[in-house]
Amino acid sequence: MNSENNNGIPGQEEQKPGTELTGQPAETTEVNTSKFVFSNESLKKQMRPSEFFAEKIITGVAFLSIAVIILIFLFVFRETLPIFSGKAAKKTELSTAKQETYGEAAAESSSGKQEVYGATDDTVVTTESQAGDSLPSYSGNESVTADQVTLKSLAGKTWMPVSENPRYGLLPLIIGTLKITLISILFAAPLAILAALFSAAFAPRWMREIIKPAIELLAGFPSVVIGFFALMVMATFFQHLFGYETRLNAFVGGVAMALAAIPIIFTVTEDVMTAVPSTYKEASLALGASKWQTAFFVTLPAAAPGIFAAVLLGIGRIFGETMIVLMATGNAAMMSLNPFESVRTLSATIGAEMAEVVFGDTHYNVLFLIGTLLFVFTFALNAIAEFYVKGKLMTRLQGKTS
C-alpha cells in the first residue's frame, strides 16, 4: 500500500500515519455509540408540541386572512342582494309609499306644479336634459313595483339617487370610470414602461440606484396628496394650456391617476426586465447587436408577458382609486365621451355618497352593488394577469411550442 502511494505527492505520506493514529480512537468511540439500534423503540414517532402548535397557528392565520377577504366580499355582495330579490321591494315600497303620500299630500294641497317644483329643487342641471327621461319612469312608479324600477334604471343613463324620483343608472358612472382609466393608462403605461426600459437597460448603475427607489417612493405617496396637487396645481395649469371650460374634468383626473399608477407599472416592469436572463443580452451583444437593439428586440419581448401584467395591475389600481378622482374630476355623472368634461367614477360615487345614505335603502344597496362591480372588475383583471401571464411565461421560458 505505502509503496504504491510513494509516487504521489510527499504530503500524502505525512498524512498517512496521522490518520492511522486518529483512526484508533475513532474506532473505540464507534463502539461506544454503536449502541444505537434500529428498533421500534429508537425510531418511535415523537411529538414535538412547540412545532405542532406553531404550525397550526400559522395555518390558522393564513386561513383567517383568506376568510376575512372572502367575508368582506360576502358582506358587500349580501348588501346588494335586496335589489334583485323581493326584499328590497317592501323596504323601498315603504319608503316610496312615504314619498308618494308626501307627493300626494303635496299634490292634494296644491296643484301639479308643485311636483315639477320638487323635481327642479333636487336637480338643477338635469331637469332640462332628462325631462323626457323622467316622465315615463315617474308614471311607472304607480303601476310597477319599486324594485323593478330600480333594476330597470340600473342600465339607465341617469344617476340621480336622491331625487324625489330616484334613478340609479350606472351607465354614466361606468363610462366615467372607463374614460378615466383609458386616459390615465394611456399616460402611465408608455411613461412607466420606457422609464423601466431605461433603468433596466441603459442607465449606469449609480443612476439606476437613484431612479428606482425614487419612483418607488411615489408609490407610497398618499393619494390625497396627489389629489390635492391635481386639484390645486394641475387643473389650473391644464386649463391654461388647453383652454377648456370645466376646470375639473376627466383629463385632469386621468393624468393625476397616472401619477399613482406609474410607480406600480414601473416597478413591476423593471423587475421583469432585470429578471430577463443576462445570457440573452450577452448572446445578442455577442452577435453584434447594439445596446438599443438588444433592449428593444431581446429584453422587451422576453419581458412582454410581465409588462402586460404590470399594465393590468396599473389598471386595477386606477379602477379602485377613490381619493384622486373624488378630488380632481368634478364628480358630475355625465354621459359624455369628451375628455374635458367632468366625470364621476364608480369608486368616487361610493366614497361621496355612502356616508349620507339611508341604511337599508335602495340607494344603499345600489352603492354596494357598485362595490361588488368594482371587486369583480379588479378580481377579473388580477386573474387575467395571473393566469395569462403564468401560462405565457411558461411557454416562453420552458419551450412549449408557441
Binding site: T279, A283, S284, L285, L287, G288, T395, Q398
Partner: protein, 252 residues
C-alpha cells in the same frame, strides 16, 4: 505555420484593483483551433472575452496592452465594439437561445444587420444550420420554440446563430461543458469542420477535448500565460513543469 490572425501584446486586465490577466502576449494562427486550458479562475475566460470586448460590459474593468486582429488594434479609441463583435462571434458555456422560434433565433443576427429580404434570410438561416450540422434535426420544426430543443441541439443552434452574422473568428467558452458525451462529440466534430472557414478559440476544462480538437494550446495559470504551442507538443513534451503537472492531473 499558418498566418497569424490574433496577436496580443502585453495584455493586462484588472477587475477593480485585482489583476486578472498579467501581460499576455500570444499569437493565434488563422483557420486553426486554439484551446485555452487552465484551472478555474486562471483568466482563460477573461482572456477570451477580451478578444471581442465583452469585458466592456463589466464595470471597473481596466485593460492595457494591445489586441491585434489582422494587425489592427481592436482596443483603439475609434473602434466600435458593436461592429467588432459582428466579426468576432461568441458561443457561451450555457446554451442561450432566445425565447423565439428556431428560425427567428438564427435570423436575429442578420436581421439586426439590416437583412430584411425574406428569401435571403431563409437562405442564410438554412446554410448556417447546415454548417452547424443541425439542419436535418430541425428543418421540420423551424417555427417551434428553440427552447424545446435538447441541450446539445441548443448549443449547435447557438453556433449556427453565431455563424449567421458571418464572423471570422468564433470564440467558444466551454461550449460542451454542460452536455452529454454524444452531444459533446457532435460539437467537437463540428468544431473540427468549422476551422476551414473560421479561426476558433475554445476554452475548455476537458483536457481530452483540448487534445482532440485543437491544433494549438495555451495553458493559463493565475492570470499568466504559462505555455503556448502546438497541442501535440504541449500534451507530450511540455516545456514547463507546471504544464506537465496540470495535464497529468496533479493539480488544478
Amino acid at each position: 505555420m499558418k498566418e497569424i490572425k490574433i496577436k496580443t501584446k502585453d495584455l493586462t486586465l484588472y477587475y477593480g484593483s485585482k489583476m486578472a490577466l498579467n501581460s499576455i502576449s500570444v499569437e493565434i494562427p488563422q483557420n486553426q483551433v486554439t484551446a485555452l486550458i487552465g484551472p478555474s479562475g486562471c483568466g482563460k475566460s477573461t482572456f477570451l472575452r477580451t478578444l471581442n470586448r465583452m469585458n466592456d460590459l463589466i464595470p471597473n474593468v481596466r485593460i492595457t496592452g494591445e489586441v491585434l486582429v489582422d494587425n489592427f488594434n481592436i482596443y483603439d479609441k475609434n473602434v466600435d465594439s458593436v461592429n467588432l463583435r459582428k466579426k468576432v462571434g461568441m458561443v457561451f458555456q450555457k446554451s442561450n437561445p432566445f425565447a423565439k422560434s428556431i428560425f427567428e433565433n438564427v435570423a436575429y443576427g442578420p436581421r439586426i444587420n439590416g437583412v430584411n429580404d425574406k428569401k435571403k434570410l431563409t437562405e442564410i438561416v438554412e446554410t448556417s444550420l447546415q454548417r452547424a450540422a443541425i439542419w436535418d434535426e430541425v428543418k421540420d420544426r423551424m417555427h417551434d420554440s428553440a427552447l424545446g430543443l435538447s441541450g446539445g441541439q441548443q448549443q449547435r443552434l447557438c453556433i449556427a446563430r453565431t455563424m449567421a452574422v458571418d464572423p471570422e473568428i468564433i470564440l467558444m467558452d466551454e461550449p460542451a461543458s454542460a452536455l452529454d458525451p454524444i452531444s459533446t462529440s457532435k460539437i467537437e466534430e463540428l468544431i473540427f469542420n468549422l476551422k476551414e472557414n473560421y479561426t476558433i478559440i475554445i476554452v475548455t476544462h476537458n483536457m481530452q477535448q483540448a487534445a482532440r480538437v485543437s491544433d494549438h494550446t495555451a495553458f493559463f495559470y493565475m492570470g499568466e500565460l504559462v505555455e503556448f504551442g502546438k497541442t501535440k507538443k504541449i500534451f507530450t513534451v511540455p516545456v514547463k513543469k507546471q504544464t506537465e503537472d496540470y495535464i497529468t492531473g496533479r493539480f488544478g
